[in-house]
Structures are given as C-alpha cells and as structure tokens.
Amino acid sequence: MKPILEIKNLKTHFFKKEGVVKAVDDISFHINPGEIVGLVGESGSGKTITGFSIMGLVDAPGKIVSGSVFFKDTDLRNISPEEMQNIRGNRIAMIFQDPMMTLNPVLRIQTQMMESIKAHDKTISNQEIYNQCRDALGLVGISSPDERMKSYPHQFSGGMRQRVSIAIALLNKPDLIIADEPTTALDVTIQGQVIFEMQKLCKESKTALLWITHDLAVVAGITDRISVMYAGRIVEQGSTDKIINHPMHPYTKGLIKSVPSKNKKGEKLHQIDGMVPAMFCLPEGCAFEERCNQRIEKCKQEQPLVTKDEDGRYLRCFNAGVNYAK
C-alpha cells in the first residue's frame, strides 16, 4: 500500500539573530491511507513545526532547508503556491489547538464553512453547499445545526468551536487531516467526546489522521502507530502497542514511566532528570545524552543513526538494548 504522506529527511531551520534553531532536524516518517498516526513530543521537540512544514505554513525566519514531503505522488516542496493552495484545506486539512485560529470571530459559521467549499469547487450551487455544511455540523454532534449555522464563534463554548473546526476540516473530504493538539485546551469530559468523534469520523470516511500532541495517553487509545520526537528528531517509531507496552528508547521509556498511573500511588514518580537542551546549542552527540540513564561513551560524541527492525520499529539509539521483551 502506497503511503499517502511520506516525509524523507526533512529539515526546517529558523535563522535568528542569535543563531540557527534546528527546529526539525532530519525526520522521516510515513502515513498510510486511512491510518491514524500519533506524533508525540514535549515543548521544543519540533512536532508543531513538522505539521506546519507539511502544510507549507512555515514563515520567515524559518525555512525548510532540505528533505522532501511527498503527498501521494507530489513533492509539496516543489509545487507552485497556487497548486499548494489547491491542496491546503482541500486534500490536506489542519486543525489547531486554539479553534479561534481557524474561526474568524466576525463571520458567521455558515459564511466560513461555505467559503471553505466554494474556494475549492466553484461548480456546486449555494443550496447544495449549505446542505453539505449543515450535514457536516450534524456529523460532529452539534444539535440544531440550522440555528447554529447562523451563529458567531463567540456564541459557542470551547468544545463546540473545536467541533466546528473539525467539521470544516472534513468538509472537502480530505485525504489527510493534521491535528495539532486538538483536545489539549478542552475540559476532560469534552476531550473524551471529541476524541471519540474524531476516531469514528476518520474511520468512516477513511481519512488519514496525524495527531500531534504531548499527551501519550490520548494517542494510546486511538492511533495505529506512534512517532516520538525529541529536540527536533524522531527517536522512536513503531506500532502503538509496541511503543506503549515495550518502549525501547530511553526517552520513551522515561516518558511512559513518569505517567502517574504507571507508578505506585503515593510513591515518587519515575522522573527524567534535567531538561531539554536549549535549541541554540544542541550538543554534538545525542541530544538526550545528558538526561539518559543508559548512556555510553559514544553517545556524547556521535549522533546515533537510525536503525530499523523487521517489525518496522525505527530507533535512534546506540544503547537501547537488544531484548525486545520489556
């Protein structure tokens, strides 16, 4: 099965007065049609910039320096702005953490939704567009869609606004949706609802989904595969089950072990000491070396290369250990 998105050796750097920030430094991954893939990392890991790089939304002083972003058969880096405009919002859609980044506060919901369809298909009639929009709202669980179409974003709660953003993303039946922390800002009970609906909708319409988040628990429940990022590089990739239950990279292991539910109640949590290195001066060797409890001499001097095993597990570590059993 040919992947719908294939990223090869992507590098996105920011050129600031103080130096170069290698926000995304040589990452490669792919998404198959209809698959849900999680991209997990903490702040400064480069996960959001990865999403922006795919969509071509990286502004100065940032630039995609090298690598390729293949969507179906096209390298998104080599196409004209008009062609990219055709793809954005149409074949690839994006959902942001703050729904107010998608929604214009001075336009009615109906205007924004209909505009999104009209931009990509000039042939349908207005009535048909209206019906599609209304159906989309119903699909994401918004009751009385006809009334809601006429409202403004500020008349909705946070959860509903996010649902509207999801509806807009689904309008043109894209092949891929990139969701950047879509449920982080929502209340816990609403988060559950939105995750459930997104999972259902993507499976029904066979849309591929890239779920970018810092929350391992969210991706554990709905993704097929997970990629873990640290300081601009992917350190581990594989099927969700393997990554969560049998992690190999010391960082992934540390992250999972430090979740409260994996620790005995009342006891100290397993913690990863130290902090993410400042992005202006990443070390020569492995970026995680300082904080790693499995480090060896080599880690300080060289950056670990990528190794792949038969299961499709991708790992960047000199000392992850050979035994796969936990």
Binding site: E42, V188, Q193, A220, G221, T240, P260, G266, K268, D273
Partner: protein
C-alpha cells in the same frame, strides 16, 4: 490522631454584575433586566487534617480556583467561614476594600502559570527574600545564605540567585515560585494547577518535589487540578466539584473503587489512559452549562445517564453515605 488544620464551613462566593444606570432606568420604565449573578462557589464545606493532601478536581466553571484563592486569603468571601487551626479568619467580606491577609503567612499559594507568577524585573534573590525580610523573619545580612538554603531545598543551584526569571525554563520557574512560598515557613500550601502548564517529564519532577517537601517539612497541601491522574496519585482525599458545588468527597481509594456520584464516574471513565486496547470511549453527553444559567434541581441532570424526574426539580442533599464518604445525589436516597 491528626489535628484539623483547616475548616471550611458553608463557604460561598458570588460574583454580581450589577445593572448600570441605563438598565436601571429601563427597568423603572417597565423593562425586566436582571442582575447577572454567578455562584462561583456555592456552600462548600470540608476539613483538612494536618499532613494530609486534599485534592480538588473539576472542570471549567467548577470554582476550584476561586475556592483556593479564598482559602489563601487573596479573594474576599461572600458568606460562610474559614478557620485555620480553630482561629476564624474568613478572609473579609465583599463590601470591604481588599486587604492583604494571610493568617500570619501560614497559608501560601503556588500558582499555575510559571511565566506570570514571577516578577520579571526582580532577581531570584529578591523574589525569594523579599517577604522574609519585610516581615523580619531574617536579617538583610543573612539574605544570601537564606536564599541559598531555599534554592537547595527546591533543587536549584546557588547561581540561580543572580538571574532573572526569563533566563529560566518553566519547570525551574515553578521551583522558584515554590521556594518563594516556602521562604515564609507556611503550614498549608494551596497548589492551584501548579503542574498543568509543565511538560510531562517536568511535571513528574515537580510532583516528586512536592512529595519530598511534604515529608521533610511536614506540609499540608490543598492540591487543585483538572488532571485526575495526578490527583489520584498524590492526594489522600479527593473533593470533586461541579459548577461551584461539591458533589463528592472521599478518601482516594474509595473514590476510585466505590465511586458514587455519576459525575465522578464520568471523570474517571472518560479520561484517556495508557491503555492501548483501543477502548471505546463512553464520553458523557452534553456541554458544561454556563455558570450564569445553571440547570434547575441537580446541576448535573442534563448530562446524567441516571437522571430521574426528581433530579430535574429538586437539589440533592449532600450527606455521608459511608464513613468519611460524602456525596450529593438523589440515587443515594
């Protein structure tokens, strides 16, 4: 036998947006504008024992932050009382000017946002030593040694003293905030979403710091959070709030194993966990109602699976359903 360190009794906080002159005139002419009242905290009562960690959990609009601020003495109360070690202090009532009041500094607060909770123009040395010097707990000559000691307690280097907040990361700033609170030797620490803004790996560090400090300094915590996972781990007892009211209070393992209130069940069940057997979520339906316009009867009834006719009309009574386990639900009647 543990001593009671804090007693909160029927505490309430109302925010009233009174009518301006124009609407008053319209009303006089026959209109019917009403004042907007938000019961941010509605008749809350509970105790905290010395050395305990009491967790307060709830979603937006539940009033947990307001509750924390009233207990810490930085927000005036509308009615009810708060007593610290039997001494009634009850903050101050709404119609008086705000005063600074913190029961002789015994109750301190750790805030949520590491970026705005430190004064950007002060060095760490001054941030931590300002209050103890002002209250004459230490002398100016002892400043540096004292601050070095505090930094040590929270896991920071001495050279942090000469730096400004913007030179630190979120987790480190949170540590400075903790040191500032500890500098006045509090007995009760209110943590208002203190780890919510931190990365997962840093969260673990700060939670561990809290656990260490509790042991070494014999502190008592009121830990406010929306993250049930963290609260389950660190709290001895849990207070569950919804739209300003307490719906359930119980020791942690009872809340988890013998959950009573439907909202608590939803909170526990609807939260994503590291369980990869792709479970089907059973999220609860509906939105959180606006605090300006809460539902009639039991506030949770529009979203509750088990709601009956009675729930729509009558407010449930808050009562003890098992030793030390309180809940407010008609299903218990």
């Amino acid at each position: 036998m543990q001593n009671k360190i804090l007693e909160v009794h029927q505490l309430s906080k109302k925010f009233i947006k009174s009518l301006d002159k124009t609407t008053k005139v319209i009303n006089w002419l026959g209109g019917s504008y009403k004042e907007e009242v938000v019961h941010a905290v509605d008749n809350v009562s509970f105790d905290i024992m010395q050395g305990e960690v009491v967790g307060v959990v709830g979603e937006s609009g539940c009033g947990k932050s307001t509750l924390g601020r009233m207990i810490a003495g930085i927000m005036p109360i509308t009615s009810g009382s708060i007593s610290f070690k039997e001494k009634h202090y009850a903050g101050f009532l709404d119609n008086q000017y705000q005063q600074n009041h913190s029961i002789d500094l015994k109750i301190q607060m750790i805030f949520q946002d590491p970026f705005s909770s430190l004064n950007p123009r002060k060095k760490v040395l001054d941030i931590i030593s300002e209050a103890p010097i002002h209250h004459q707990l230490i002398s100016k000559e002892d400043k540096k040694n004292f601050v070095a000691e505090m930094l040590n307690k929270v896991g920071l280097n001495n050279d942090a003293m000469a730096r400004y907040p913007h030179q630190f990361s979120g987790g480190q700033r949170q540590r400075v905030g903790i040191a500032r609170a500890l500098a006045v030797s509090p007995e009760l620490v209110v943590c208002d979403e203190s780890v919510a803004a931190l990365d997962v790996s840093i969260q673990a560090q700060i939670i561990n710091l809290f656990l260490d400090l509790r042991k070494n300094l014999n502190l008592t915590y009121l830990f406010i959070s929306h993250d049930m996972g963290v609260i389950e781990h660190i709290a001895d007892r849990i207070v569950v709030m919804y739209l300003g009211q307490v719906v359930e209070i119980a020791p942690t393992n009872e809340i988890i194993n013998c959950t009573n209130h439907p909202y608590t069940k939803a909170l526990l069940g609807g939260v994503p966990t590291l369980d990869t057997t792709r479970k089907v979520y059973e999220p609860i339906k509906g939105e959180i109602p606006s605090p300006l316009n809460p539902p009639s009867g039991c506030y949770f009834h529009p979203r509750c699976k088990f709601a009956t006719e009675k729930c729509k009309v009558e407010k449930p009574t808050y009562k003890e359903i098992a030793p030390n386990h309180f809940s407010a639900c008609h299903l218990n009647d």
